[in-house]
Symmetry: C2
Subunit: 507 residues, 2 copies
């Protein structure tokens, strides 16, 4: 039997992955369940991570000409009904506002009063309410393209929730654009997918596959849905961002018309695209280990934590002064165009302190005691390396090399995740192997989910549904690269197929 190493998170990923996930969120102080069904409280350490994701994405959006705006939280029921597939897709999970005040009820407590003439839906997504504005804003081809984004909260009343991955309320951005031609709208759909992929890979260090959803998996009302799919450490896929080409479906529903250069009236071509706090779930499940989350430096809530060590007031004075100076020199430097984010934790709580920061996943931990000061050195631990692999470094070299070190950690995390993705991606052309791949080989939780399988598919919804029913495996996407575009036979029915698609279990 292997030697048992005590880990900060119990259970380990191997023992019980879903429970490990919940325990990491708790131990790393990212978020907590609220009393409101399916809603969560994002705590400061989790929210700082989200702020960094927001800033990164927002900058990339703006570079492509997108402007931010803000639209109402409430959508009149009649608006949602304008696009038939759309309302069908969201009707089962809507928070409905029916009254606009409270008054004393017959039993003394407050009860809803002031019934609304038309119920309002708390936005699950905003195509229809934004379409109403676009219809006013767009008159001529000169008003196009219209490139708008909003950062907002949305509500989808989920029956089974899981923090960050599926909550009744979540934070996200939703981009909405209108164009004069289908071609231009499709290019925008692709461009925004590329931005999501860049965020995932370059910032979150989370390798993704870019692809197209099958008709069954499309956004309700879309003509085409592009997506990025990542692989978590339990070998389940996570959809990490979607970009939709909406054709003229929503412009017809909302009346977004424009005069073209020949003064003929046309309906605009629209897109929408979104990414959410779900990405935080992706970061946890891509990089986290049995000691907690590991934050990729480019989006980490803090880059460095300084941990002063002292035994008496005299030592305290010396150590705190050294710490303050070090902090200043670090925060004066830039990493990834932003000032280095430093936390100082001088609480006198013993060994628990270091473990807290390990669990919180701060990339670099620095211990500073009287002996370090005597040698003008610091004692440094990197979160991407073993917990005990700490090393002493000359203080000045540490300051000089911190940005390099953060870069190395960022790269190391990505490289590890890419290897994991590669090891758990297979090309399977044979039905039995396919069923074996997705059938648990043992009761070990880690053996349950298979991974990614690139397999042929004939294009039929029946085959897709059969595999879903048999194995709980779905087509995550039809990859955009055509390296898997050779001919073959459908993994399900054996009929002719022209390209492989990515199958996996998914969140």
């Amino acid at each position: 039997m292997a030697k048992v190493v005590k880990t900060a998170i119990s259970p380990t990923r191997e023992q019980d992955y879903p429970e490990w996930y919940q325990q990491v969120i708790k131990a790393s102080d990212l978020a907590e369940r609220s009393v409101v069904r399916g809603c969560m409280v994002i705590k400061p350490w989790g929210y700082a991570l989200w702020e960094n994701i927001v800033n990164s994405l927002d900058g990339m959006f703006k570079e492509t000409g997108v402007k931010n705006a803000y639209f109402p939280l409430f959508i009149p029921l009649s608006f949602l009904e304008k696009e038939a597939e759309h309302v069908e897709g969201f009707a089962k999970e809507c928070a409905v506002v029916t009254h606009h005040r409270l008054e004393k009820g017959p039993e003394g407590g407050l009860v809803p009063a002031g019934p609304l003439t038309e119920p309002l839906i708390v936005r699950p997504t905003s195509e229809t309410i934004i379409g109403d504005s676009f219809a006013r804003w767009v008159n001529s081809y000169r008003d196009l393209p219209l490139l708008i984004n909003q950062w907002a909260n949305v509500v989808r009343w989920e029956m089974r929730t899981r923090m960050f991955l599926r909550t009744s309320e979540f934070l996200w951005q939703e981009g909405h654009t209108a164009h004069a031609t289908a071609q231009e709208a499709m290019e925008r759909t692709q461009l925004m997918l590329d931005i999501y992929a860049k965020l995932a890979e370059d910032y979150l260090a989370m390798p993704v596959v870019r692809g197209r959803k099958t008709p069954l998996e499309r956004f309700p009302g879309a003509v085409d849905t592009l997506c990025i799919e990542a692989l978590m450490q339990d070998r389940k896929a996570l959809q990490a961002g979607t970009s939709h080409f909406l054709g003229q479906n929503f412009s017809k529903a909302s009346g977004i018309r424009f005069q073209n250069a020949e003064e003929k009236e046309e309906f605009a071509w629209t897109t929408s695209w979104g990414a959410s706090t779900r990405l935080i779930g992706g970061v946890i499940m891509t990089h986290g280990d049995d000691d907690g989350i590991i934050m990729p430096p480019r989006v980490a809530s803090a880059h460095v934590v300084l941990l002063p060590i002292f035994k008496n007031p005299e030592e305290r004075t010396k150590v705190m002064e050294f710490t303050a100076n070090l902090s200043k020199e670090l925060t004066d430097q830039f990493y990834d165009h932003k000032k280095i984010r430093v936390e100082i934790d001088d609480r006198d709580i013993g060994g628990a302190r270091g473990w807290e920061w390990i669990k919180k996943g701060v990339p670099v931990r620095v211990e500073i005691g009287p002996r370090d000061i005597a040698g003008n050195s610091v004692f440094v631990g990197r979160r991407d390396l073993g917990i005990r692999e700490k090393k002493s470094m000359p203080r000045d070299r540490f300051v000089a090399e911190i940005t390099l070190m953060l870069d190395e950690i960022q790269k190391n995390l990505f490289s590890r995740a890419r290897i994991y993705l590669k090891e758990n991606t297979h090309t399977i052309d044979d039905s039995k192997t396919f069923y074996d791949y997705f059938t648990p080989k043992s009761k070990e939780p880690s053996e349950i989910h298979g991974g990614f399988s690139y397999s042929h598919w004939c294009g039929s919804g029946d085959c897709e549904t059969k595999i879903k029913n048999d194995l709980s495996v779905t087509i995550r996407c039809i990859p955009l690269t055509d390296e898997n575009g050779d001919n073959g036979s459908c993994i399900c029915c054996g009929n002719k197929s022209t390209q492989r698609v990515v199958f996996a279990k998914a969140y």
Copy 2:
């Protein structure tokens, strides 16, 4: 009769101030009414202004140790009821969620279904839901102070709405802190008020009076409400930010308890403080003129607009190249620690183009034609000066002096607003003069509202209510400075008073 100058906004402030306000918002493309009752759409030009306000405030909050977090949109009715005055204050304007899905009704259309066992209130403010988390987060005096802020949307179902000033949904930040002592909580209440004052004066160029609300005007559930009050150009006051000392009212309602250093259990002392998109209404009404909004440079959606002028493709090429180079040199510079924000408008729409940017209030307009290029100069208009006061400047001097120019505009706006405030602030100790001051002298809209009056008040709610009923004038605040703290007689009843308070009509 005075010479009639044609203005971009009709009516003028003089002719009809409330209508002028609506027309400025429309002409400057800041926002529009939405189909959803009382809600607005914040358009990109208005949202960019809000983003700059958000970034300024957020930075100041963080410097004082505040961390951002995010709490649920929905508050269970039973939570709101925990603090009696609080629920009383908000019951009449609550959006109430009663159902969680939609289903086909008897007449074929969708109707609310899945009734909730307990109604949920869309947050009008979050003391009670955040208190629920604080009760879990605070255990020991070591956990204090707890300094939290959230950027969020809130809903208060207003019957009479006005864009930015009073809308059913608005964007704001709400800070919530918990402390071990009343003293420390009161200091935090004051500190946050100081930050709001700094934002108003140094960023929005909007002079304010700092003060304390009377018991009748306090936040529902607060022990003490501090506020900043600004004076609009129709001589009505605008409350521009509030900071509340909540005593132990909410910690008792939510159970926020901690063990003090002597291991005795105590209730924490809490504060809350907020500022909202209403500030944009303040910017419009402080600086706007009869040609539109004037944006203070530090928060302006853009600092400079470049307006290339050309008559043929050959000229176009030359002018656009010159414009692009100029833009690059400008955006490479920093103003107020951020890159200079430049817009280029090359639309071929004649004189309407320049007027659009005047109405939008961009601080600096730069026209660039072939003749300017020949002389290596630019033709510059400052929005704080007369529309026709444009001047030619050597291009390189313009680049060298742009940050200085923006600074000058910022200062000029503040100085003008301060003069306006001073001219419309009076010390009135005599009842007849007081009633005259607040009684319209003519039907001219500008003559209606009086201004600020520093007058003695005995402290009685009856006097306060009488003046409110007689004149629609309220006590905006009891100033924090004691320069008006001498003895006198109440302006209403003549009884003894120990200090003057600020009376005004208000938004």
